[in-house]
């Protein structure tokens, strides 16, 4: 079956689409972790929140595009609020305090969504213009998923240019490489942090909205995704765009092809990949310079 080129090509597309979704979340988590040394497990909660906002927008009569325009901003706003009110307080308190706080936020966030929306999973309709399938060299592939792949590639390119070619990007990279020196050079790391956090959360929000029509909206989607994203970040390496891209692709492909080739081990494939990578590269495949030495 795998030898059938059409089937194989379709699975490659499926892998790419999944990788793109993972990337949208992983990049925010990775740079926040890399730059601010902050392990924010509530990243998935923002993703879930944006999906629910998208659901509400469509319920109120808005289109998918309206949701896509609005929800990530709302998510970013909430994320920033969380940051300044709660998350910032344990910025210097070590990973454990951060894990504890963000797990608390996960618990609260999930229950709040249950209270507000009930326990039943919800659906968000795909935009009409993307409802059909496209004939790509003989494969009939859903247009919406192609859209997702395209969106991911656009974001990847934009982030690449932003990080490598803009001044802000240089500031971020400097902060990730060596925060102390960056600060002595007069860079206001606090402002950079807030901006990076906002962008990361915004991307997570985008992820939530675009994932909703395929994956649905339900309490608990935050936990499912955050575990996957954590694995991507750990495998790819902290703090670097290249690491996030590589990690997303690796996990996306491993998961999709693993399910077909080894269905009995489907759940374990990505963990095995992670174990393998960490055995040979304990800090991930392409970490930013600061994390290359073993801790």
């Amino acid at each position: 079956m795998l030898l059938d080129p059409y089937f194989f090509a379709e699975q490659v597309l499926n892998s790419l689409q999944f990788s793109m979704l993972l990337f949208l979340l992983a990049i925010g988590l990775s740079v926040v972790f890399g730059l601010m040394d902050y392990l924010n497990l509530a990243h998935g909660t923002i993703y879930m929140f944006a999906a629910y906002v998208a659901f509400t927008v469509t319920q109120l009569g808005g289109s998918f595009w309206a949701a896509l325009a609005l929800a990530p901003f709302v998510a970013a706003a909430v994320g920033l609020l969380l940051y300044f009110l709660l998350l910032k307080r344990v910025e210097r308190s070590g990973h454990l305090a951060q894990v504890l706080l963000t797990v608390g936020i996960i618990y609260m966030g999930t229950d709040l969504m249950r209270i507000a929306y009930g326990d039943l999973p919800k659906g968000v309709a795909q935009p009409d213009v993307l409802k059909g399938a496209v004939n790509l060299f003989g494969i009939l592939y859903p247009s919406y998923r192609l859209f997702l792949i395209g969106l991911g590639l656009v974001v990847m390119t934009a982030l690449y240019f932003a990080l490598e070619r803009t001044r802000l990007g240089a500031l971020v990279r400097a902060g990730v490489d060596d925060r102390a020196t960056a600060e002595t050079l007069g860079i206001d790391i606090g402002k950079v942090f807030a901006l990076v956090f906002a962008i990361g959360t915004y991307l997570a929000g985008v992820g939530g909205v675009v994932a909703a029509p395929i994956f649905g909206v339900y309490p608990g989607m935050d936990v499912t995704i955050i575990i996957l994203v954590l694995i991507v970040v750990v495998v790819g390496g902290l703090g670097s765009l290249k690491g996030a891209i590589l990690g997303s692709l690796l996990i996306g492909f491993a998961d999709t092809f693993g399910k077909i080739l080894l269905p009995q081990f489907a759940m374990m494939i990505i963990y095995l990949v992670m174990a393998l990578v960490l055995t040979f590269r304990p800090t991930g495949l392409l970490p930013a310079r600061r994390f290359s030495t073993s801790v």
């Binding site: 699975q11 039943l120 339900y218 399910k259 269905p263 759940m267």
Partner: protein, 395 residues
């Protein structure tokens, strides 16, 4: 959440009288999910139970009916703990509810040893009224085989000779599939593929749908629940299979609860179920009306099974004239109860302790803006195989 129930003013009057009568309440422990994944089903069941107590009770032979609901957290460990609490601490006369088969299997020996009758409101694993049956355990819901076995020959007769099975990998789908396969193959059908995906861990059904499509079946038989059911249905549509390869299912995969989320992706799906809200018998019409008035929502199968569990309990208590302390008599009485439920005629089968009931074949169609069930066929009075159950006599 624990709540004791007796209807308002009646309760006040009764508690004045009960000082004189000194009648203990008839305590029923309800093990239902108020936290975790199964809350929607648990809530509906609780609603059904309360409606039953209100309509058929609130008393039986001068004794108040008290429903104590304990949360099982949607997992068997907690459910077992709460069962122990209800039996040892609250000293309930009966236990009802229980969504998960795993919880029921765990509770069965404990309740049997304590001589507390259990009326299951879901917990559909065949074993519970099969090899693992107990004289103290009854089931007011359905057994997986009741839903699956009649469907096989029906599907074969309709011309769907080649079926591809896709399901979530855990006990229930496998049991459903096994029962279906047996009767389907006997009727001349052929299962051309059977693939299971990791339960609750699958978001992308693309690979599985592709495998099914390449086998070119007459229909795809799907076993997914909850969020996975939504994802599967939507992806089935988006990959272009809807309209090309029909989907068939059993109850739980395209339930009323997921209507909004599944939307039109499930138009045309044919399912085998033990209840649909659209049934036109007088009991159901009255039931839907009463439920809507009290809870401002429409009832699906969970409310009905919760209601019926209570009805079995209360009718049995009536048969023993309210002497529910005589547990053996109470349990024996449950075996003798039969009535017309909202789902049609039901009867507790004394040999299996499983309710015999109708099985309905229904198709989802679009009516106006919404999807509804359209009843295609009724298979009356389906029971289960009594040979697997060897029950010790009640004592």
């Amino acid at each position: 959440m624990r709540r004791a129930l007796c209807a308002g003013a009646v309760c006040a009057v009764l508690s004045m009288n009960s000082a004189a009568l000194a009648a203990d309440p008839f305590k029923i422990g309800g093990i239902l999910a108020t936290t975790g994944n199964d809350v929607p089903q648990g809530t509906e069941m609780a609603n059904g139970m309360r409606l039953a107590i209100e309509q058929i009770g609130p008393q039986v032979n001068g004794r108040d009916i008290q429903l104590l609901i304990e949360d099982d957290g949607s997992n068997p460990n907690t459910g077992l703990q709460k069962a122990r609490k209800l039996i040892q601490s609250d000293k309930v006369d009966m236990i009802a509810g229980v969504l998960l088969s795993a919880t029921a299997l765990a509770i069965s020996p404990v309740a049997s040893a304590a001589k507390v009758p259990v009326i299951l409101s879901l917990a559909s694993a065949n074993a519970l009224t099969g090899e693992k049956c107990s004289p103290w355990v009854f089931r007011a819901s359905y057994a997986n085989s009741q839903i699956a076995e009649p469907f096989g020959p029906w599907i074969a007769a309709k011309g769907y000779k080649n079926i591809f099975i896709l399901g979530a990998d855990f006990v229930t789908p496998r049991e459903f599939a096994g029962d279906f396969r047996r009767t389907f193959e006997k009727a001349g059908g052929k299962v051309v593929g059977e693939v299971y995906s990791p339960f609750n861990k699958t978001q992308d059904f693309g690979p599985y749908l592709a495998q099914a499509r390449s086998a070119n079946p007459d229909a795809i038989l799907a076993f997914y629940y909850g969020a996975e059911a939504i994802l599967f249905a939507k992806q089935y549509e988006s990959f272009g299979l809807k309209g090309k390869i029909p989907m068939i299912a059993m109850l739980g995969t395209t339930p009323v609860m997921l209507r909004q989320a599944q939307g039109s992706s499930v138009d045309g799906v044919i399912s085998s179920l033990n209840y649909i809200p659209e049934l036109q018998n007088p009991e159901n019409i009255a039931f839907q009306k009463a439920y809507r008035e009290k809870f401002h929502a429409s009832a699906s199968e969970f409310a009905v099974m919760g209601y019926d569990s209570m009805r079995f309990a209360i009718e049995a208590a009536k048969k023993v004239n309210g002497h529910v302390e005589d547990r053996v008599a109470l349990a024996k009485a449950i075996s003798q109860v039969s009535f017309n439920s909202a789902r049609g005629p039901t009867r507790m089968n004394p040999a299996t302790h499983q309710v015999d009931q109708n099985v309905y074949i229904a198709k989802i169609v679009k009516k106006g803006d919404a999807e509804v069930f359209d009843l295609i066929d009724t298979i009356p009075n389906v029971s289960t195989d009594a040979s697997a159950c060897k029950m010790a006599p009640l004592q």
